[in-house]
Amino acid sequence: MKNEFEALQHQWQKDKSKMESDPKENDMEQVLSTFQKNKTWSTNFQYGNIIILSIVLVGISAFFYFVAPVEELLSRIGVGLMIGGLFVRIIIECISVSKTKKINMLDQALQTTEDTIAFYKFRRKIHGPITILIIALYTIGFYMISPEFSLYFETWQMILIDGSYVIGAIILILVIRKNVKKEIKILSDIVDLKKKMLEEIV
């Protein structure tokens, strides 16, 4: 078996030396340009959620400030709950990105795996009670504005507005549920990976 494995090692080294002489991989200018593009995309992707949520926050704030400034106290509290909920969500996303950055690729694989497990446990926590609370506050806020809005809109328009919110909320909950399931699966995969790393074979 020793000789057979040495032959595999030889084959492996031979393949590597072919890669070393591959001119496509040694064109530094091309390599650096592709690398820069990918690096920018990767950073943008990490901040994608924060950017989208911030745009929504600015949009809603501008709407209630410039287009439909509400006057009643109940409505103002409602707007506060909606904007506050979104703001808290953005803060959580920022914490999430900072926690991702703490997963150090220079650490030993076992340590990195443990940090990744801690990160996904944090994600599970925020996806659970915290996200539900934010959606609940946002929904309460939305319906607190409804009485004042009903002064300016026809009944059928109000039904349309309230109804579309319900549909939107259902879609949002389904999307969140799907993501939670996905992340729980990832968590269990990484926990399994850690177990395999530490597994002692007798």
Partner: protein, 164 residues
């Protein structure tokens, strides 16, 4: 060109073949997926350049980033499992003779049939890393690495024998 970029270029020239080959084995021989993963490794190397203080050897450092990036990729990799292993092409063998191409393809196929962690461990051994080095990269005991490698070698042999 600044110092960071210069250092990155040196690392790239020196280590890219090793990174690409590890990614190729991890991605079951699919060159496109392997190149994408290699780019992720390079981005992580770039992001870690300033943190490297020389507490471990330079090569160990590159291996750690490569192994960690591959393991972090585990969640995306699940989708890639559907790629038929028989359609896998290995670009590097383009210029090689037929026997070499066949040998390389069957080796990558066999490595692809191992579990993710086992793939990485056996590739480090194929690349000539010592048990102590692997232990340092993985953060698991050297004796544990030795036993795992012995078991993986047996499994790899079985897979290769069944293919013949």
């Amino acid at each position: 060109m600044n110092r960071k970029q210069q250092l990155f270029e040196e690392i790239y020239k020196d280590s890219y073949p090793m990174i690409l080959q590890m990614c190729l084995g991890y991605m079951k021989g699919d060159i496109d997926l392997a190149k994408d993963l290699s780019q992720e490794v390079c981005i992580n190397i770039w992001n870690s350049l300033e943190s490297f203080r020389g507490t471990s050897s330079y090569k160990t450092w590159i291996y750690r980033i490569t192994v960690n990036t591959c393991l972090q990729h585990i969640r995306k990799e699940k989708k890639a499992k559907k790629i038929a292993i028989d359609t896998v092409l290995y670009a590097v063998t383009e210029e090689s003779n037929e026997v070499d191409v066949e040998k390389s393809q069957s080796l990558y196929k066999a490595i692809g049939k191992l579990e993710e962690l086992d793939r990485l461990l056996i590739m480090m051994i194929l690349d000539g890393q010592s048990y102590d080095n692997i232990s340092e990269i993985m953060g698991i005991q050297s004796t544990n690495v030795r036993v795992k490698i012995h078991r993986i070698k047996k499994r790899l042999k079985k897979i290769l024998d069944n293919e013949e």
